[in-house]
């Protein structure tokens, strides 16, 4: 609506858009040659994209709703998420500039807006109800019924056939059962293009923006904040304005019933970056939070490990080259470089360092620990020597408590919200009745739960485990010294441990297997499993992902030896 020229015919300024994307005068229906180039960025809240359509479209639905498009919905979601991130301390630039631009670019590239001809094909009539053998006029398009039944396996929303049959026959250009204008179209397109917007993808957008700005939030943290409720995701549609009515197929798009998966968000982000033809991202240098040196420091603290280990992590980072700017910085579209998971990488470095110093073969680390314990008895000066056994006991206990708490929280997670969802007006009353019953039952049994009140959302915190040096019970190991496991050789401090075992001798092809290695708990030492488990808890990902990174780092570290002496078993001499 930047178009402010007067109409040639009637001199009014009252423009709308035709199907072809041309401006027409609403007063006299004079069509111009001008096409829509740039649209106001704030088109979410008040504006509506109006079209002359061949069929009838109710301008205002009876229930006070308005017409809205799916991408408007997503735009709202992104806005909310950005605001939440801002509240968490992210710079406002993210919301106002970066994310906004990314989104605009996306809309343009996917031809949903900001272009000459919006890709809004008129929705053909889809008669679904009477006969299940009805097929669309376009045989390539999957039928609506098929789409509906697809999501059952994911434990998705109610999609039984009775719903399908309640979808009314429609005239030519109105959408098939959704509150939004193009809900069904959106789902149809899903089959062909891989970058149709989804809820998990909103997080990919956020992460991409955070990465661009090099904000100190890792992807695992972002996802944790989502689960903890600090960033809108589950039931975000609650915040849609009243007149944006959500029903029918919109639910499939906007209602999530599972937590976002790290891999999925991560991979989508990279696809997105390539799709948007973004240039090389800002450099990740060694002063960035996301650099392994920095992240290792954070994770060492959180894992209650001695600060002295940081020297070792830096050494490993340097030796393997994973601290190099070119390795760490994202080049969208570059298929040859491995995509970096900063958080997992840093955790893996720590694991490798632990293996270097303690071997972690369920034997040596305990011997070393006893040795350190002995030396600690006569150790009067300086800090105590680090004893693996003590550390293990302290951390395991805390970890077990936290894990148990987390498991319970997961079981008590509430997925539904106040705003009821229904597919059609027909099952609205049933849904409302059910909701009422659920609320009644929650009240009744809530009272019987005793004094346990549902804990308020925990304050967002970057650290899940914290250890204080002020505790006199010796449960904080930050200040402990590694002298117990090191020795001097030629003026240098080296590990007493002369051995190392590789997690895997040969790396798999990630593109074929999906993983670099295949982790099975029974095949590896318990101590190794414990350490993986610790970081798995902190990052909320499967241990196998950390294992993959460990393998990758090991192969970089022992690169020369591996190629030279292929006949060796897994034990190598450093």
């Amino acid at each position: 609506r930047d178009f402010n020229e007067r109409c040639a015919q009637c001199s009014e300024v009252n423009w709308g858009l035709t199907d072809g994307g041309r401006f027409y005068c609403r007063s006299c229906h004079n069509v111009t040659e001008r096409t829509r180039e740039v649209v106001n960025t704030d088109f979410i809240t008040n504006s509506r994209v109006q079209k002359i359509s061949k069929g009838l479209r109710k301008q205002e639905k009876n229930d006070g709703g308005c017409e809205w498009y799916i991408c408007e919905g997503f735009q709202l979601v992104l806005k909310k998420q950005a605001e939440a991130l801002e509240a968490l301390g992210v710079c406002p630039q993210m919301k106002d500039e970066i994310l906004c631009n990314f989104w605009r670019c996306y809309l343009q590239k996917s031809k949903q807006a900001y272009c000459k001809r919006p890709d809004g094909e008129t929705v053909k009539a889809l008669s679904v109800c009477e006969s299940s053998t009805d097929v669309d006029s376009d045989p390539e398009r999957p039928s609506l019924l098929h789409l509906l039944s697809l999501s059952e396996s994911e434990g998705d929303l109610q999609t039984d056939c009775s719903f399908a049959s309640s979808v009314s026959k429609v005239s030519e250009s109105t959408s098939v059962y959704s509150g939004s204008v193009d809900g069904s179209l959106y789902l149809m397109k899903n089959q062909k293009e891989k970058l149709t917007m989804t809820m998990p993808m909103t997080l990919s957008f956020c992460y991409m923006a955070l990465l661009w700005l090099r904000e100190p939030i890792t992807l695992s943290e972002l996802l944790r904040f989502v689960v903890e409720g600090h960033i809108p995701y589950l039931n975000v549609f609650q915040h849609f304005p009243e007149k944006m009515k959500l029903c029918g197929l919109d639910l499939r798009i906007f209602c999530v019933e599972s937590w976002p998966i790290y891999e999925e968000v991560f991979n989508k982000m990279h696809e997105l970056a390539a799709f948007l033809d973004l240039p090389r991202f800002p450099d990740i240098t060694d002063s960035c939070f996301l650099h392994p040196d920095m992240l290792c420091m954070k994770y060492l603290m959180e894992a209650n490990l001695p600060d002295e280990l940081h020297n070792w992590t830096c050494r490993v980072v340097k030796k393997t080259g994973i601290g190099e700017v070119d390795f760490l910085t994202l080049m969208p579209g570059n298929k040859s470089t491995r995509k970096v998971k900063y958080d997992v990488l840093a955790a893996a470095v720590i694991v490798v360092v632990l293996k270097l110093l303690f071997l972690l073969d369920d034997h040596y680390e305990w011997l070393l620990s006893e040795f350190a314990e002995e030396r600690n008895k006569s150790n009067t000066e300086g800090g105590p020597y680090f004893e693996f056994k003590k550390w293990y006991e302290v951390v395991k206990q805390s970890l077990d408590v936290k894990q148990k708490k987390l498991d319970e929280e997961r079981a008590k997670y509430l997925w539904r919200c106040e705003k009821p969802l229904f597919y059609s007006v027909k099952n609205k009353s049933k849904v409302l009745k059910r909701r009422q019953m659920v609320v009644n039952l929650q009240n009744q049994f809530g009272k019987l739960s005793g004094s346990v009140r549902r804990a308020e959302k925990p304050n967002p915190s970057s650290f899940q485990l914290s250890w204080s040096e002020e505790n006199t019970d010796g449960s904080c190991f930050h200040g402990h010294s590694l002298k117990g496991v090191l020795q001097e050789k030629c003026g240098l401090l080296t590990a007493m441990n002369p051995d190392y075992w590789l997690c895997t001798v040969k790396l798999c092809n990630e593109k074929l297997c999906g993983h670099l290695a295949h982790y099975r708990e029974v095949e590896f030492p318990q101590s190794y499993h414990f350490v993986l488990g610790l970081f798995s808890f902190l990052l909320r990902i499967q241990p196998s992902y950390i294992h993959d990174e460990v393998c990758m780092i090991e192969h970089k570290l022992f690169n020369k030896k591996l190629y030279k002496k292929l006949k060796y078993n897994t034990v190598l001499r450093k």
Binding site: A411, R435, L448, S449, I541
Partner: protein, 412 residues
């Protein structure tokens, strides 16, 4: 736990259910309630493919919690049950029935009756036909409560009857309860099943009103119709009825025969053996011996003096008559390897002597015959008995000594 990081609605609720289950098993009602509060939102999701859906889960779990939780009242319980009735039409009658059971357990007979009447009048299209079985049960239980009312009226009448006055109103009420009860009870016992309580009540009614034929028929059906599941109680009820009717020993014996086959350790075996022992027919006496030996195979009878006295009496009688020693031999054959340790150990001898002299007397007699005068049990008990200068023990010792050759013939 696998610390699964992928979590969705379904898995989250599965986990929730397992926490509820643990809490229930450990009787932690508050904790169970806590988790159930989180589980109930499952109702808003479609689980039509699952075998047991959330509405059934919530009904069953909620019932348990409300029944046992200290802060829960009957009012809350009833309110909850009413809600559950609306949740699943396919389960409506079942929920009604279980609600009635709880009311009965709580002594609220009148409320239970009201609920049953209400349920009886429920109609819901084809569901009514599908839930036919539950409906029959509901009618049967209402019949039972009618019986209970009848019984109360009857007692009132009997008490007042001593005054010479018979209250007509009470009598009429009593009869009307009888009619109502009889109709429903009769219906349910037609269907193959285990209906002990219904049968007993119905027979009671019939007997009171003098319809013994019908009663006999009902009991015979219940006991002998092969469509009905094998039920020892059916035979017990029949036996008791026949006894009340003063039937011949022959029919009593035939009633108990099947009971012996099904439950050799039944307490009526003593009566059975007693009848059989006295019989003139050799076959019956033989059966009696079998019956009493079989009963004493069971640990629950080890210290039953009456049973031992039955066995002792019969064994003694056989030994004295010197006829049918082979019966004892046959019975003893399969038992001689384990009865000595089971019944006749030295430890048991001491204990029995200390605790129950009559028991030890009877057992000693049997032991002496079966195992000879030199067996541990007999030696100890008879010695103790003689030391205590109890006459019968001296007699016992003489008897066994005299008949020791019998033992040799038995064991050989």
């Amino acid at each position: 736990s696998s610390h699964e990081h992928k979590l969705n609605f379904r898995k989250s609720k599965e986990a929730c259910l397992s926490y509820i289950q643990d809490a229930l098993l450990q009787k932690q009602w508050k904790r169970a309630a806590e988790f159930l509060t989180c589980y109930v939102e499952s109702l808003e999701k479609d689980y039509s493919r699952e075998h047991v859906g959330p509405s059934e889960m919530i009904w069953r779990i909620g019932t348990e919690i409300l029944w046992h939780h200290s802060q829960s009242s009957m009012k809350e319980f009833n309110c909850f049950m009413e809600q559950m009735k609306t949740l699943g039409v396919k389960r409506y009658l079942k929920v009604c029935l279980e609600h009635v059971f709880h009311l009965l357990c709580n002594g609220q007979i009148d409320e239970a009756y009201q609920n049953l009447s209400l349920a009886e009048s429920w109609r819901f299209g084809e569901q009514t036909a599908i839930q036919d079985k539950e409906m029959k049960l509901i009618e049967a239980y209402r019949g039972l409560l009618d019986y209970y009312s009848w019984s109360k009226q009857k007692n009132i009448l009997l008490e007042n009857g001593e005054d010479g006055f018979s209250d007509l109103a009470v009598e009429q009420e009593m009869h009307s309860y009888f009619r109502k009860a009889a109709v429903n009870l009769k219906e349910i016992i037609k269907i193959p099943g285990v209906w002990d309580v219904f049968v007993k009540c119905y027979v009671d009614l019939l007997e009171f009103y003098g319809d013994h034929n019908e009663a006999r028929q009902v009991l015979n059906e219940y006991a002998y119709n092969s469509k009905f599941p094998a039920n020892p109680n059916a035979h017990v009820y029949l036996y008791q009825f026949l006894k009340r009717q003063g039937e011949s020993k022959k029919s009593l014996i035939s009633a108990l025969k099947i009971l012996h086959d099904i439950v050799p350790s039944h307490e009526l075996m003593i009566d059975f053996n007693t009848m059989l022992q006295k019989s003139k027919k050799r076959k019956k006496r033989r059966l009696g011996l079998e019956v009493i030996f079989a009963a004493l195979d069971y640990a629950g009878w080890k210290e039953n003096a009456k049973a031992w006295s039955c066995l002792a009496r019969q064994v003694k009688q056989i030994v004295i008559s010197e006829k049918h020693l082979d019966w004892i031999k046959q019975e003893w054959n399969s038992r001689k390897d384990w009865w000595p340790a089971f019944h006749f150990s030295r430890y048991l001898a001491k204990r029995n002597w200390q605790e129950n002299k009559s028991l030890s007397y009877e057992k000693a007699l049997v032991a002496g015959i079966l195992l000879g005068k030199d067996c541990k049990y007999f030696k100890y008990v008879s010695h103790q008995g003689c030391k205590a200068q109890l006459k019968r023990f001296r007699m016992l010792k003489k008897f066994v000594n005299r008949h020791n050759p019998v033992y040799l013939r038995i064991s050989g």
